[in-house]
Assembly symmetry: C2
Homo-oligomer: 320 residues x 2
Amino acid sequence: MKTVTGFASATIGNVACGFDVLGFAITEPGDEVILTQREKRTDLLPVSITSITGDGGALPRDPKKNTSSFVVLKFLEYIRTNKGIDFEGHIELQLKKNLPLSSGMGSSAASAAAALVAANELMGNPCSKMELVHFAIEGERVACGSAHADNAAPAMLGNFVLIRSYNPIDLITIPPPDNLFCTLAHPHIELRTAYARSVLPRTISLKTATEQWGNVGALISGLLTSDYELIGRSLVDAIAEPKRAPLIPGFYSVKNAALEAGALGCSIAGSGPSIFAFSSSYEAACEVGEAMKQAFSNIREKLQSDIWVSPVCKEGAKII
Amino acid sequence: MKTVTGFASATIGNVACGFDVLGFAITEPGDEVILTQREKRTDLLPVSITSITGDGGALPRDPKKNTSSFVVLKFLEYIRTNKGIDFEGHIELQLKKNLPLSSGMGSSAASAAAALVAANELMGNPCSKMELVHFAIEGERVACGSAHADNAAPAMLGNFVLIRSYNPIDLITIPPPDNLFCTLAHPHIELRTAYARSVLPRTISLKTATEQWGNVGALISGLLTSDYELIGRSLVDAIAEPKRAPLIPGFYSVKNAALEAGALGCSIAGSGPSIFAFSSSYEAACEVGEAMKQAFSNIREKLQSDIWVSPVCKEGAKII
């Protein structure tokens, strides 16, 4: 019997202007996946789920439908075909969900990435993280109907990850500036990714698109040159934010509160409802967090929220 | 009597994925503007055009309609209002056009930038280049009906320039990698910017836009990290190139020839008809140039072309 625990943290996709092409990892919170190798059981798939905690019973227990087990099944298929590793045993999977579901915090991507590094370790690390990330991206299709990579890639690789192309997958890792801190505010409501995608337009004006890619280029430049003011100015989203803001009670109040408290910029985390802000010091990011929490509680709906302050995680998914 | 000569070089806008937000300067060829300060003449505007060479008589001689004199008039207005400099004399302007018109080489921007640095020098340099660039951008509206900045900004500032925002103008200078060389092929046909803009779609799909901004981000990352392969992979234009390619006889033949000769990437220079390619050495860029010239001459129209091989100019407009 061999037991391995994988961990992957929350990630924030889109990052304002970078719809579907940019995401980054924070250091906490994160999901844990514990894999235990057992004797082969011919009556079962090679992976079974023995426990899930922290999901309130919401996630599927069927190994083909749960993201964390689905990606392990795909990984086992891959190493059999491509690495000549024919796993003869059985894997029991325990998932400790610390990330809220449908939160915009990359919950499904964290479970997938944690499961994959654990499975890879169990099999003697036949795959690089860059190979594993493909299964994590496939897991997103199971979790929310769209194989977007802007959570899965940073959950696996850490840092900021830019997705230059989906076909073929071309990922560019961008290390964060030293003093960039993220404040993440998670209001106690759920917003399903599939629904938050359905409100987006199918077409946009060339003018708006041009503004957006000016900001994407500027944000990448700001990150690579540690230009905090430029990072702040580039956190503009003319496309998804205006459509998704009405789905998040108090979005503009919270954003304004973050900016007034000194944040460099602020936008929706992934498809929401969580909201992230960047600051150029830990202390500033904490003050921004207090302002965001207060703003959520001041709206008509008096939303409770959790706040996390974190640097950008450089490590990605790991064995703990 | 005081005479000053300004010089600004050719620039390449769009740079594949960066429609309207990215451009860069090369070191040659360039336009020269010679300004001579004379006694005030009350019967004339403060600027008159005494000669233009190299334009085949195509450019307007009216100081309000010619880009190079128009921007000097705007500059004089600005320094009177904002710097308290009330110029009492008269400026005679000679324009030596070395850049072909309607070539996609930033011909109007070069004339404007050269005129502005010369005028600024004549007035004792009251303005920074970042101030001057605004007049150069306004000059584009006179020249081609659209105040795009992706030629004017690099003509003035050198390097790559990313335009994060047009309102307000927010320009980010990006120094080029040391070994990046540009091959520019100018076929002997004209393509008016206004017409080349008219073939573009007003709206684009969100999917295509997303692909484009993935490439913009990746190109900026490639430039800032000297990742030549990434620069090459990012030189993809899903929006303007497919629409404008049919306006340039032999475009795809020339592009393929450049890539087969080893170019990192290749696309339309500005709105065409010139075509640029990047290479990671001077020798490679020269070979690419020969292949491009040959390809133009091999098409049915047997186009003659001029070829320039140049590093990215870091200097921008200057006094010579």
